[in-house]
């Protein structure tokens, strides 16, 4: 008895309690809601509610699973097309962010130490204004009678405005603009830790600066590249606000489909199924990242 009481006390004190807190957090705020969404995606429209999760009509708890929403997603080419288009835009955004963000982060990391905090501040400065406001501001720049078109016409560069709004172009600009800091920050954190002696060693062994960049700097910043790309790619797939405001009807993004299913069609099972498939799509790159990181860890541990 005394023994078991002791164990009970031990559980609520010290180590287990501290480890327990994040578990409780994760289970109650991530795992359970996710299971609810999963269950709703497997219900029919009539039974789709939180109070109706488990069927008690037979006297014991049972689950009735209905795969019609998933069947519909698989059968309707529009969904597949939208998923592919979401991945395409997310990939384009990630690649452009990497292309712009890498040199950005590199020069930040190489800048004199005393101005680095200022540069970092400038990267984060846009966050001080509402996200929605900033996206809306792009609208005023890009519309047919917006600042850019008016300026170009008055300068005589062209006579007709270019249609930039509601095109893949405006969508991509908005996405890259919004997610660029999430690429720069992990890359900067990684590159600022890069030991300059590796670059000197490469030069010493006869490597030109450009070659050194590809052979030493890029491989050594792989972890930063992966982290930055994930931080841009994952939220880009499900992005709703930017396609809604800048993308127009020509640009298919899964976030908008999700919105329509929920609020226009009121089809919760369908919306949940769309969300679950999106999570699976995101899980694939996440799993790859995890594998890479654990490979690195075991590489470091194993002698």
């Amino acid at each position: 008895m005394a023994q078991s009481k002791n164990t009970f006390l031990n559980f609520f004190s010290g180590r287990k309690l501290i480890i327990g807190v994040p578990y409780v957090w994760f289970i109650s705020l991530a795992a359970i809601p996710l299971l609810i969404v999963l269950k709703i995606s497997l219900s029919t429209m009539e039974t789709a509610s939180v109070s109706n999760m488990v069927d008690w009509s037979k006297g014991w708890p049972s689950l009735t699973l209905n795969f019609s929403s998933y069947q519909f997603i698989a059968s309707d080419a529009l969904y597949v097309k939208t998923y592919l288009s979401s991945i395409k835009y997310a990939l384009i955004t990630t690649i452009i962010c990497l292309a712009i963000g890498y040199p950005f982060a590199y020069f930040m990391a190489r800048a004199p130490k005393h101005i680095q905090p200022t540069l970092l501040m400038l990267i984060m400065l846009p966050f001080w204004t509402s996200f929605l406001l900033r996206i809306y501001a792009w609208k005023t720049l890009l519309v047919n009678n917006g600042i850019i078109n008016n300026a170009l016409i008055s300068l005589g560069v062209m006579s007709e405005p270019i249609a930039m709004m509601n095109t893949p172009f405006s969508l991509t600009i908005g996405m890259v603009y919004s997610y660029l800091p999430f690429m720069i920050l992990p890359l900067y954190a990684n590159l600022s830790k890069l030991d300059i002696r590796y670059l000197e060693a490469a030069a010493d062994l006869g490597t030109s600066p450009l070659k050194t960049f590809w052979l030493v700097t890029v491989p050594l910043s792989k972890a930063g590249i992966i982290a930055g790309s994930m931080l841009v790619f994952i939220p880009s797939i499900g992005e709703y606000v930017i396609p809604e405001l800048l993308g127009g009807s020509n640009t298919l993004m899964i976030g908008r489909v999700l919105w329509d299913e929920f609020f226009s069609n009121n089809d919760w099972p369908m919306a949940s199924a769309v969300a679950i498939v999106m999570i699976l799509l995101i899980l694939v790159p996440m799993a790859l990242l995890n594998k890479y990181q654990s490979d690195q860890a075991s590489d470091k541990a194993g002698a």
Binding site: A202, D204, P209, L215, L220
Partner: protein
């Protein structure tokens, strides 16, 4: 501290072939801070040249200028009669073994060693052959597929050496090559390193703050302070005949007497200091009445309980400290003037030979040729 014999020291000057010549080189940071101040130096083929000095003396800056990582503010560097002052690091036939090695963490041991060879566009089979040879040289053949972090400190050091030797550089730069190793490992590695360097026959410039390392490895050393050379010479010359108080103080332990020359004869000088009268058995370039320092190494001081004969080269004091090192013991003798004289006695028998203990009165004495008169 005594130095082992070096094969290169026997070289006659006529056989010496110049490899590296530094002419009046300076490095000034921010317009005022002189890291290296008008240094000139010639290094001969096959030599291991040691740059010795405390931190901030400019030795690393000088080495970095040789490697091409820093541009000199003034002066010229010639390698085999060719001006390389403005040649970028990646075009110099010079390789460096970095302090704490800078092995590429993302590449295996094999790839690290092959790195420089690949840049030269060497055919694949030749690269493989050369890498295998290098791995054999440093006895790491079976570690080829490992990553640097999977190796011990001593193994990493050998990979770094193999990498810097792989391209057969004309000049090898060693930046504190043993700094990251523990004391026991250093002693064995030191000799191993010299053996490998001699086997390859490459000319070396070695930078170190550790005088023992410089003296055992280098055939010639330069003692550096505040950006310039205090003295350049064989390790034994620098140790036994330091040219200034600074050098005597930096290399090894020293008892420094301050005195005035009384007699200045061609075959001897006497110097009167507060502690005693020194009789130096050779002439010096000075004059009577001149203020000089008399440097006396602790291992050249003998101790006895009886008063020595004669009027010169002895002093009386009280034992205030006994520091036991195993192989030898250092006695600290407080003299009447307040100066603490260090005397190092070899423990040639297992009962500690002198029989002196704390608080004992003792006499320290030394021979006519034990000390060096320093005018600077």
């Amino acid at each position: 501290m005594a130095t082992a014999s070096k094969p290169q020291t026997g070289m006659k000057s006529a056989e010496k072939e110049e490899l590296l010549r530094i002419e009046g080189i300076s490095k000034i940071y921010d317009g005022t801070v002189k890291a290296v101040d008008d240094v000139s130096l010639t290094v001969y083929k096959g030599e291991i040249f040691g740059l010795l000095g405390g931190s901030g003396c400019g030795k690393s800056t000088l080495l970095r200028m040789l490697a091409g990582f820093e541009a000199p503010t003034k002066g010229k560097i010639y390698l085999a009669e060719q001006d390389i002052t403005n040649l970028p690091a990646y075009q110099r036939p010079i390789n460096m073994m970095f302090q704490s090695y800078a092995l590429f963490p993302h590449l295996s041991v094999w790839e690290n060693i092959a790195f420089g060879l690949k840049r030269d566009g060497m055919p694949k089979d030749q690269i493989a052959e050369r890498v295998e040879k290098m791995l054999g040289l440093v006895q790491l053949t079976k570690f080829a597929p490992r990553k640097p972090h999977q190796l011990s400190g001593g193994q990493q050091q050998r990979v770094a050496l193999a990498r810097s030797l792989a391209k057969r550089p004309q000049l090898l730069l060693l930046d504190e090559p043993l700094g990251a190793l523990d004391k026991k490992l250093r002693e064995t590695t030191q000799l191993e390193l010299v053996n490998i360097i001699e086997q390859v026959g490459v000319t070396c410039v070695l930078v170190t703050h550790d005088q023992e390392e410089a003296m055992t490895m280098a055939s010639r050393i330069a003692v550096m302070s505040e950006g310039y050379f205090l003295q350049v010479g064989d390790p034994d010359t620098v140790y036994e005949m330091p040219n200034s108080r600074k050098v005597a103080d930096f290399i090894g332990n020293v008892n420094m007497f301050e005195g005035v020359i009384e007699e200045d004869e061609p075959d001897h000088v006497t110097v009167r200091s507060l502690e005693c009268i020194h009789y130096v058995g050779h002439g010096i370039s000075g004059h009577a009445g001149m203020q000089v320092g008399v440097a006396l190494r602790p291992e050249k001081v003998m101790l006895s309980k009886r008063k020595p004969k004669g009027d010169y080269n002895w002093a009386e004091g009280e034992v205030i400290e006994i520091v036991y090192f195993g192989a030898h013991t250092t006695y600290h003798l407080k003299l009447a003037s307040g100066m603490v004289l260090k005397a190092q006695e070899i423990n040639s028998t297992r009962d500690l030979s002198c029989g002196l203990t704390w608080g004992d009165k003792a006499y320290a004495h030394w021979s006519n040729e034990a000390m060096v008169v320093l005018t600077q």
